[in-house]
Structure formats: C-alpha cells, structure tokens
Symmetry: C2
Amino acid sequence: MSLLPKTARGEHSRAAIFEAALALFQERGYEATTMRAIAERAGVSLGSSYHYFASKEHLVLEFYRHTHQLHLVAIGPLLARERDLAARLRGVIRAVVVTCEPFHAFAGAIFGTVANPVSPLNPFGKDSKALRDEVIELYAEVVKGSDARLPDDIVTELPTLLWLYQMGILYFWIFDKSPGRLRTLEVIDQTTELMVRLLGLANLPVLRGSRKKILSLVRSVAQGA
Amino acid sequence: MSLLPKTARGEHSRAAIFEAALALFQERGYEATTMRAIAERAGVSLGSSYHYFASKEHLVLEFYRHTHQLHLVAIGPLLARERDLAARLRGVIRAVVVTCEPFHAFAGAIFGTVANPVSPLNPFGKDSKALRDEVIELYAEVVKGSDARLPDDIVTELPTLLWLYQMGILYFWIFDKSPGRLRTLEVIDQTTELMVRLLGLANLPVLRGSRKKILSLVRSVAQGA
DNA sequence: ATTGCAACTTGAACGTGTTCACTTTTACTG
DNA sequence: CAGTAAAAGTGAACACGTTCAAGTTGCAAT
C-alpha cells in the first residue's frame, strides 16, 4: 500500500526516497539498484520505502510523473509561440527525448516493465490512467493550438494516436546508440513531416473511404484498451 | 549457461523441464510458477533446470519456438491453396491468435519480458534473432506466394512490417477480454483488408512521394534495430 | 576391467523484492 | 499537560530466481 504523506516529516521522507532512487538508477541502472540501497541513501529503513511506494516499479511511475513535468516546462514557450502543426509536433516530440536524455542509460530496463500488461505501470492500466490522460490532453493542445484545419473525426482521435506515436519514438530512442541520439531526432523530423503530409491528404476522394475505416478502427482499438 | 543435451538422458530431462514449465504456466500463470515447482514436476533438481535453460525467461523463448511450430503447421494448407494476398494475410494472422489461444491467460505476463529491451527475449536482441528471422521469412512467403503485384521496394520491406504488425495484434489480443476473442479477429479482418487496400493505392501519383519517404524511413528504422 | 573425461545432477547458499507485527513519533483533543 | 489515535518508522523473516562447487553417471579408449 503506497500512501501519500500527511505530515511534513512524511513529505520529506517520500521526497528523499524518490531522490535517492533517481540518483541510484542513474548511477547503477535500474536492476542493480536495490531497495535496500535506496533506503540507505534516503536515510530511512527498508520498510519505510514501502510505506510510500507500493513497489520498486511504483518508483518508476513517480519517475514518469517527474519527466512529464520537465517536459511540460520545456515545451511551454514553443506551444505559446508556434502555430504550424508540423513544427509544434516536431518540437514537442523532440523535447520528449531531450528531456529523457539524462536517463537514457536505465530507460531500457524500465520500458519492459511499462509494456508488461500485468504491471501496474502498464500505460493502459489503472494506476497510470491519470498520467496517460494528462499526456493525451497535451497532444490535444498541440493539435488545437495549431492553425491546421482538420476534420472533426480526426481531431477527436489524433491525440491518442500521437500519444502512441510518442511511445513508439521512445522505444526507438532506447535502442538508439548513435552519438547525440541523432538518429532518433532524424526519425522524429521525418515522421512528423510525413504525418502532417498524410493528414493533408486525408480529404482526397480516393482516401476518404480508407480514412473512415481507419478512424473507426482506431476508435474500436482505443476503446478496447 | 543453457546447453543443448548431448545424450538421450539429457534430451529427456530437457523435454521434461519444458513440458512441466508449460503445464504450470497454464495452470498457475507465469509468475506464480516457481523454478522449484518446475523442477519438481519434471522430476529433476533445481540446478538441472538451469543446466538446460539459462533462466526462467529462456523457458519462455522455448515456448515461442513451440508456438511458432504450431503456427507453421496450422497455416500450411492455406498457404498452399490460397493466392489472394488479403486472404493469405488474414488467415495467417488469425492462425497466430488461434494457435496462442490456449496460452492467453499467461501471455500477458510474458509480453512484458519480451518488450523489455534489456531482456534476452527482446525480439530485437541476439538470442531471439534466429526465431525472428524465421517469422519474417514466413511473411516473405506470404507475400511472394500471392498473386498481388507489388513494387519491388515494398516487397523488400513488407515482411518486416508484417512481423511488427503481428506483434501489434498479439499485444491487442492480450488485452482482449471479449468472448471467443472476437474483437481481435474483427480487428485482424479490418486491418488486413485496409493494408491490402493501401498497398493497392501505393502507386497513385499523390502518394508516390510519401511512399518513397515511408520506405526510406522503414529501412532506416529496421536497420537501427 | 580400469581409467579418464565429459555430460549430467545436486541442493545449500546468496541477494533480491516484499510483507508484517511491532515500536516510536507526531499532532490534536479535553 | 495527559491521553490517544493516526502517521511514520523499523528490521527480521519469507519466497523467489539464480549461482556454484561438488558429486554421480555412462561410455569410449586403453
């Protein structure tokens, strides 16, 4: 049972535990970091860690919230200034990998847990719903704040698709060993441009039938999860 | 260190361990099955299990090989008879989920391990290369054996894309709680039809530019992994 | 038959994440 | 201030996956 602290002392402990975990994850990697080491560095007992975080995996969930906040801060100016959809998308997704760069070394170990349908961290699950909705809402903002004219049915489903797209990019980024993670940045530039191009074609007569089918499919799949 | 058996006795032990693991995974699920329980049911010691399988996860890799064999047997007649690409695709992918149906209950627990970039089971990794190549080769056969006329550049990249598509379907299938897994079958029918339709459109002038870009992107991504 | 050696087998021991019955501290009430 | 209940904290104990040094088996060569 993971509890929110109700006293100043509790808040301090919880923060110390998370900070110790984050530091150790970066120093040694996720698996080499033991709960005992985290507790020791945080200056609390092993049992106390479990008072605030239900499991080692839940520390990772907190890590996601943390990077999401960093991401939001990083893209604030861009979203306020830029109106072109392709540029907004490119900037936001680029900011994701830039924000996560300091954690690249242990991100791989974490992704497995996240993709695990059984894990409490799995993006389609209950524990991560709040954060998921926040991220999807962010992409709704990316679309709505642009000057692109898109059909309503697309506007409805696009944020969820962009959320999935972001996860795909992160998965690629994890494997990316190129210097400065340049390959990932290239892929981001190409895919965002391509997506916006295809969105522009969505009203072509030959494609309208497919578009309806695709959107109906997307709705059906999104609802299932 | 996981070793292949060199004597009849060794083969018997290895088979017994795998069969015990498979049975227990089905009865209790992946995580509730302990290596001790597997060893006990197989009639060997705990240490012997590790003589043939480097880890609990490697038992899952063997499980993949097993289901792949079942899948190959199941689709043999279809591939020999049917020439229509959409029908071949639909049949092959449907056969995947039908073959895996008996293992649905514990498939979820396994997928996390598979998606984990750090795990030896991760599909892009070394240990699973042989099996991955086999599956991609299967989809090459699905495409080549059809009467569809596709541009060479597409024929080259399509098998890998279909392999990825199959994994996507399996991920959806894991979450599917509908009776008889009907939703998954529906999604398969819709997506295969859609894909073949889009492949037919790939030569349209408006799309040719995008197609080149998409294929170049696919090549770049596939090579990265 | 004896030897030698590789294949095979064993289970105690290690470090891990997690649990839980218990103690200590904190904050509030009368 | 005393009392008390909630919050915070503790560490021994548990079951697990994994390792390893030592043991046993079977067979080919001498």
